[in-house]
């Protein structure tokens, strides 16, 4: 473990998991870099139509 700790977290992947991790880390008091391979975030979930069981729009 480093002596001088850096208050930033790198999140790799901008799908639902990465986005949630980024939000929680940022709310927890850390600078977050969110890396996404493609041109925009959203991942697989943004391709889903509706989600079980509420039939909420996946967006």
């Amino acid at each position: 473990m480093a002596k001088d700790v850096i208050g930033a977290i790198l999140v790799v992947g901008g799908g639902i998991t990465g986005m949630q991790a980024a939000l929680d880390a940022a709310e927890g008091g850390f600078k977050v870099y969110l890396l996404e391979r493609t041109s925009s975030i959203g991942g697989t979930m943004s391709q889903l139509d509706k989600t079980f069981p509420t039939n909420d729009c996946a967006m």
Binding site: V12, V32, Q47
Partner: protein, 941 residues
């Protein structure tokens, strides 16, 4: 959207992590940034580049079912909403000619000379959420996926159902555009398979996805659609999934437990013939119009490459190795992993993994918390009370998005004639940085005291404009929006005249309302930085440890006299880890942590307060004590069903799985002598009184069957089940058990299961589903896989004002996106209290709850007030209707019986206003006067 706007999240798209060096706490990440070829500062997402781009390519967002251009955005709500140029297809970048986009871009945002670049980021920790890659059925094409257009994957079918899909949500066969009458789903394509390239594990979510798709497809066809799902085991083990399965059966979706033997195209190429077998051996043939392959999820080259570069230890399936007691921790310190990258799972489990990883990373870096983040400063606000309304109206063109349909100059001219309007301006993009600066300047120069923006939706843009108001020294509640994009240019795109007239009316209404707006104050309320965790089992301890690591004081309240909960009686996890050993390690950590105050033998007798300031009174052997805390985590667990019948409690040969676990731990000699053991699944689960699946019992039974077999290799072991639900990577132990000659028999649960005791054994009788006849087994031991049952009603529900669902488990705020939050702020749930789940899931959820709770504890203060209801006490008759109606339990009655609103818990929904017959409640900004002003503005000629 929330991610895109968060001040402390820097979004780097088209970026690839190459390497990570350094030690945990101080890591250097090398990142390759691929060019977008578009300047994101200058791009206004007008879409001209895509419109003019001559190159059409398959749209991967639509799973190749539609085309996009080489200049593109993935979808219309993309974040960032900036176009990109696909270098693999751009004619200029490939062949050196074209540059049409560059010539036509109105803001000169195209940068075709951009080159890839490398940057280095200094971070303390890394969270990997690389996702998964769906199985490609073309590689072992048993189902003619490549040649038959009417054979599609489940992800392609999602796009076909979607309103933003290639057919705008109109479900048709790809071969001829005609609506299908019969659709079949084939489960486990590429999962639970020994084919080369396929996964041997179960992909966990596909059964529930297929049910959802079948129900939606039937809805699209107004019920005139025959939907049939072919499956091996129906694995609806997730929360509420079994109810969904039952509902689908009731609505007429056919569930056929059979592997499809062959699929052959019918002559003409528009239909497909499936052959399958039904018990006791009948060969069936059926023709379908469309076949959906429920493809599994796995890892692709991008996941494998990065894992190798980071040096993560991987399992045999290509997922990072992990322990059930540290489910998001990888073999490399400082690197965490979650979601489908870490193994197949559903959305809520992924979301929990994400929060858990964020929380653990925060724990690792606790000493540097809040060192690199910015918080907006509060500006001094101008007093506007007593001034006549001076309203500024700002009309946004949104490029051509609004102005292409709505005559914006006419809307602006109309607004200028409205009473109270002092100034009108038009912007090409009101949300752009320069427009915002101009708006703030105008507000100050012209002395405006109310602002109306006619643009898009307040859902996404209100906070931005409100921030601008504050910069200009105005209270942010002196703001109103008219949505002339969604409600005018989008929906009336074919009728510009009507769209413009409607935009004029919407602006007039907003102006009418704005004139009556008053400044609202928010006050700061301090947050107590301690947490209360209720329940000292696995989940409670995991939550406490994560919070303590992040530096917060935790009160851990346990009803019994020991920590550990039900897990104390368990032998091994699904993957064979020793539970007792790991649990004892956790208990040691909890008892030694100076920030965790353990209260044993303690019950909660009273709870008061709300987010930020709870006061909970506990009663323990040390007497009564009031605990002050800012957040509450409910981790009270659930119990094991005491079964009725099956000679349970009457014969020593009948025991529950939990009892077996304990006796295996004690190396009970009676178990070694048992030569024939039968496990009976779903005792008390998946029945009308308890329609949920208890999720862990299949895994526990298979694990215990293996342990018995190991202890006594001569033993014959049978697992009598309805569907064997060893979901996810747990499929490995099912395969192992079959290889060890453990017998799995499917029984018909609607026929009686009989248990009789003879002098030296049990006689068991049941209906075998495959053979369609009754079987009897003489057994030395019958193990009942009993249901997990929650405490109902649970006093904690009343104490902390949180709901329990129909099954008695606690009801989270949103089943997918907020799986550990309650609708009540500051209260969280995890572990068996939320739903039956594995230890690994409980730990991840507990750590997720800790991360969500820490976000509140990290705030310097909570904002109180703003749009919250007020009660005119003189009008209140104390009937209590609003108290009952309030969905947030924000209203109580004072000593005179009059209603009182707690501004912390009130969400400003207005339900109380609508419910009151005396007109006592009022919601500022939505008062009767302002609503009437809006209506008046609408009907005024």
């Amino acid at each position: 959207m929330e991610v895109g706007r968060h001040p402390n999240i820097e979004l780097l798209t088209l970026a690839e992590l190459l390497t990570v060096e350094g030690e945990p706490g101080d890591l250097r990440a090398r990142v390759l940034r691929h060019p977008r070829y578009v300047d994101t500062q200058a791009c206004i997402a007008c879409g001209v580049c895509a419109e003019k781009c001559p190159k059409k390519v398959d749209d991967e967002y639509q799973m190749g079912l539609a085309k996009r251009k080489a200049a593109y955005i993935k979808f219309s709500q993309a974040v960032p909403l900036k176009y990109a140029i696909d270098p693999d297809h751009c004619i200029y970048l490939q062949k050196g000619k074209c540059r049409a986009c560059e010539k036509l871009c109105p803001t000169g945002a195209i940068r075709l000379d951009e080159k890839p670049s490398e940057i280095e980021l200094r971070v303390g920790a890394v969270v990997l959420a690389l996702g998964s890659r769906p199985y490609d059925p073309a590689q072992e094409d048993d189902y003619h996926y490549v040649s038959q257009p009417n054979v599609v994957t489940s992800l392609e079918f999602e796009r076909m159902l979607s309103a933003t899909g290639p057919n705008m949500g109109h479900l048709v066969k790809p071969s001829d555009g005609i609506e299908p009458a019969k659709v079949a789903w084939i489960q486990c394509v590429g999962s639970r398979s020994q084919h080369p390239g396929a996964a041997s594990y179960c992909s966990s979510a596909c059964c529930t996805i297929a049910i959802k798709q079948a129900m939606l497809a039937r809805e699209h066809a107004h019920g005139r659609l025959d939907a049939a799902i072919f499956y091996i085991d129906m694995r609806t083990q997730g929360k509420n999934a079994e109810r969904y399965f039952n509902r689908a059966q009731d609505q007429g979706v056919r569930f056929i437990k059979s592997r499809v033997g062959s699929l052959t195209p019918e002559p003409g190429g528009h239909a497909l013939r499936l052959r399958y077998t039904l018990p006791p051996g009948d060969l069936k043939e059926e023709v379908f119009d469309l076949v959906v392959l429920s493809v599994g999820s796995g890892t692709g080259p991008e996941q494998r490459k990065l894992s190798a570069s980071l040096g993560l230890r991987m399992d045999s399936h290509g997922f990072p190795e992990f322990s059930a007691f540290a489910p998001v921790v990888t073999s490399r310190p400082g690197v965490f992993a979650g979601g489908c990258f870490r193994g197949p799972k559903d959305i809520p489990t992924s979301v929990n993994n994400a929060s858990a990883a964020a929380g653990l990373a925060a724990g690792l870096l606790a000493s540097a918390r809040n060192t690199l983040v910015s918080r907006p400063r509060a500006a001094a606000l101008r007093e506007v009370a007593g001034e006549p309304a001076r309203i500024g109206v700002f009309v946004c063109h949104c490029g051509s998005n609004i102005a292409g349909v709505v005559d914006c100059p006419r809307v602006a001219a109309h607004a200028a004639r409205l009473p109270g309007v002092a100034h009108v301006e038009e912007y090409r993009f009101a949300c752009s940085q320069d427009a915002q600066a101009q708006m703030a300047r105008v507000v100050q120069e012209k002395g405006l005291n109310r602002v109306v923006v006619a643009a898009c939706t307040p859902r996404t843009h209100e906070p931005l404009f409100q921030q601008t108001l504050e910069t200009a020294g105005l209270n942010k509640y002196l703001f109103e929006m008219a949505n002339i994009r969604n409600q005018c240019s989008w929906v009336h795109g074919d009728d510009p005249e009507a769209a413009t007239a409607k935009a004029e009316s919407l602006v007039a209404m907003a102006v009418g309302k704005a004139g009556l707006l008053e400044p609202l104050n928010e006050s700061d309320m301090p947050v107590n930085r301690a947490a209360l965790v209720v329940g000292g089992g696995l989940a409670g301890m995991a939550a406490s440890l994560s919070l303590a690591k992040q530096g917060y004081v935790v009160h851990l309240v346990e009803r019994s006299n020991v920590l550990g909960g039900h897990a104390l009686g368990l032998g091994q996890t699904g993957s064979g880890e020793d539970v007792r050993e790991n649990l004892e390690g956790m208990i040691r950590l909890v008892t030694r942590d100076r920030l965790v105050r353990v209260h044993l033998g303690a019950s909660i007798i009273k709870a008061e307060g709300f987010v930020g300031n709870f006061h909970t009174t506990i009663n323990s052997p040390l007497g009564e004590e009031v605990l002050e805390h800012g957040v509450t985590i409910i981790a009270c667990g659930a119990g094991e069903l005491r079964p009725e019948g099956y000679l349970y409690g009457k014969s020593p040969r009948v025991l529950t799985n939990l009892e077996l676990d304990r006796r295996l731990g004690d190396e009970d000699p009676q178990l070694l002598e048992a030569n024939r053991v039968v496990f009976l699944q779903c005792v008390g689960s998946r029945i009308p009184e308890r329609p949920y699946c208890s999720k862990v019992c299949c895994i526990q039974s298979v694990r215990n069957a293996l342990r018995l077999k190991e202890a006594n290799p001569q033993a014959q072991v049978f697992v009598v089940n309805r569907d064997l639900r060893t979901y996810g990577l747990r499929e490995d132990i099912y395969r192992e058990a079959r290889a060890e000659d453990i017998h799995f028999i499917r029984y018909d649960h609607e026929q009686p299961f009989t248990v009789e005791e003879t002098t030296d054994a049990l006689e068991l009788g049941f209906q075998d589903w495959v053979l369609s006849r009754r079987l009897s087994i003489r057994a030395d031991l019958l193990v009942l896989a009993t249901a997990i049952v929650p405490e109902t009603p649970n006093p904690l529900a009343q104490l902390y004002k949180v709901p329990q669902d129909d099954d008695g488990f606690f009801q989270e705020a949103h089943p997918k996106l907020r799986p550990v939050d309650f609708a009540t702020d500051g209260v969280f749930v995890c572990g068996l209290a939320r739903a039956p789940q594995s230890m690994e899931e409980s730990v991840s959820q507990a750590q997720a709850a800790a991360a969500r709770a820490a976000a509140i504890l990290n705030r310097p203060s909570l904002k109180v007030g703003g749009v919250v209801a007020r009660i005119k006490k003189s009008a209140c008759v104390g009937c209590g209707v609003c108290v009952a109606c309030c969905p947030y339990q924000a209203i109580t009655q004072d000593q005179d019986g009059k209603a009182e609103v707690n501004p912390v818990t009130c969400k400003g929904c207005g339900t109380c206003v609508a419910s009151c017959r005396s007109g006592a409640p009022d919601l500022p900004g939505f008062s009767n006067a302002s609503l009437l002003a809006q209506i008046e503005a609408l009907v005024r000629p």
